[in-house]
């Protein structure tokens, strides 16, 4: 099978998975919009009403942080289990392992396009419309996609090798939720050294901050601040997909044990 044929395969399989999931739910595709909204409302309730924290525009601030985070966490968590989930197909014929995490990543990405459309309508509805600079969202979304691909491939490698890593993945997601500036802003950190560290080593925090700068403040982004995120993502992609290729036969055995 030709290398590029795999991309058409990934695309069809991702679409089929979306369809199959929607078929099992009563509200079907409505969940694509409902799920992120419910998450945001829950966070809003906790931070605004219970803790009295947050500023005037806290709801919009929270939505712009939470929706990209949900994309990130859902994709990586589902991709990590992708080989185990597809043992039937893996049993049947030799298929390169990179296909399976990418199917799950694309499944979440297609769904995210709809969710992003809802997010943007919500932002416009709330009176933010510096449309001139919104093109910057495209490279930001692409960068987040690269980060998701990289981390997904690395976690697929680990979780398939030893299912114990599933615990680590859920803990990692929890950690990322607290460290990526979803309900706080990187600008709120008093210690400039710490601020710098987060910008350097947490790609997701930089990306989420980028979304806010564009959508809420209509700013022109300084692309140099995204260079570490890009390098980390590319590094993860090389390690993860390289590992999936190198340890292909070992992983097949692990899937059946």
């Amino acid at each position: 099978m030709h290398f590029f044929q795999y991309f058409s395969l990934i695309h069809v399989m991702a679409r089929m998975k979306l369809k199959s999931k929607a078929n099992t739910l009563l509200l079907s595709y409505v969940w694509w919009v409902l799920e992120p909204l419910l998450f945001v409302l829950m966070f809003y309730f906790v931070f605004k009403f219970l803790l009295h924290r947050g500023r005037e525009d806290f709801l919009i601030f929270l939505i712009i942080g939470k929706i990209p985070f949900l994309w990130f966490s859902k994709s990586v968590t589902s991709a990590a289990n992708s080989l185990i989930e597809n043992r039937g197909l893996i049993n049947q014929r030799p298929i390169p392992k990179f296909v399976f995490p990418l199917v799950n990543v694309h499944e979440a990405a297609y769904q995210q396009l709809v969710t992003f459309a809802v997010l943007i309508s919500f932002v416009i509805f709330n009176g933010y419309h510096d449309f001139g600079l919104w093109w910057q969202l495209i490279p930001l979304i692409f960068l987040q996609y690269l980060l998701i691909c990289g981390l997904s491939s690395v976690f697929t490698l680990f979780v398939t090798y030893a299912p114990d890593f599933r615990m680590i993945v859920s803990m990692f997601m929890m950690g990322m939720m607290f460290c990526s500036g979803i309900f706080w802003s990187i600008g709120d950190i008093a210690d400039p050294q710490l601020q710098k560290m987060i910008l350097l080593f947490n790609p997701l925090a930089v990306i989420i901050d980028g979304y806010r700068q564009v959508l809420m403040h209509g700013q022109l982004l300084n692309w140099m601040t995204f260079a570490p995120a890009l390098f980390i993502s590319l590094g993860l992609i090389l390690t993860g997909f390289g590992g999936l290729k190198k340890f292909d036969s070992l992983l097949t055995r692990r899937v059946f044990m």
Partner: protein
């Protein structure tokens, strides 16, 4: 019949290591130093009791699992696909969508797949169920879909694991006839594992008898079958 080997297996050994507790592993030799060759266009049977290593052998032959030692040699670009019950279906997708995925996995484009899917639909006799999720299918319907998908997508070596033993008698005969036709017309190579001695006798020219992972006998179906049946009777008498 073309007399070139499409698949040759040399000194194949496969061990499984399963986790059995905290940092403990259980090792089991599923295939032990097995060698044989399959010619292009041949129908080759694999016989043996439960746990003799038949299904593991098929996985290695399909190329999904790499052996611990020994080798499986095929000419370059030989396509192989394993047909086994309940494998490779997404239960929430319709028969049509599952057939499409199978075609794509075998290297067909989406356009090329459409006529094949129509053939699959006609052969599998699923009627309106073809558009319904596979989870609503009976075991027989699943095996019909699996068989039809495999037989209409062209693969060089078809590996069949027990599939023909499910389904009603009429479909069984139809499936055997379809296989026979492929064997006669298309030079299709088939490696066939079955509990049904009758089917192996009817379809296979040569056989391999596996016992606890080792090759007990390799030869024409008639000679292997004779010893296999004698041995089976002895086992029953004991």
């Amino acid at each position: 019949m073309n007399n070139s080997a499409i698949l040759s297996v040399r000194n194949l050994t496969l061990e499984y290591q399963t986790r059995s507790g905290f940092l403990k592993q259980f090792t089991h030799k599923a295939i032990d130093n097995v060698s044989f060759e399959v010619q292009k266009g041949e129908v080759f049977g694999v016989l043996g009791r439960n746990g003799s290593g038949k299904s593991s052998l098929l996985k290695v032959l399909a190329g999904t699992i790499q052996p611990d030692s020994g080798e499986v040699i095929c000419p370059p670009n030989t396509t192989r696909s394993l047909l086994a019950l309940g494998l490779g279906f997404n239960n929430n997708l319709s028969g049509r969508d599952n057939a499409l995925i199978s075609c794509l996995l075998n290297g067909y484009s989406k356009q090329e797949s459409q006529p094949i899917i129509e053939q699959v639909k006609a052969f599998a006799e699923l009627g309106k169920f073809f558009e319904q999720p596979v989870k609503t299918y009976s075991a027989g319907m699943r095996s019909r879909l699996g068989f039809a998908t495999a037989i209409f997508t062209q693969v060089d070596i078809m590996l069949i694991d027990e599939t023909l033993s499910v389904g009603d008698n009429a479909f069984k005969l139809k499936a055997e006839a379809a296989l026979q036709e492929k064997i006669n017309n298309c030079d299709q190579t088939i490696i066939f594992v079955s509990h049904s001695i009758h089917q192996i006798k009817k379809l296979c020219q040569r056989c391999l008898w596996l016992e606890k992972g080792k090759a007990k006998q390799l030869g024409t179906t008639n000679s292997v079958m004779k010893h296999y049946l004698d041995n089976k009777q002895e086992a029953v008498q004991i």
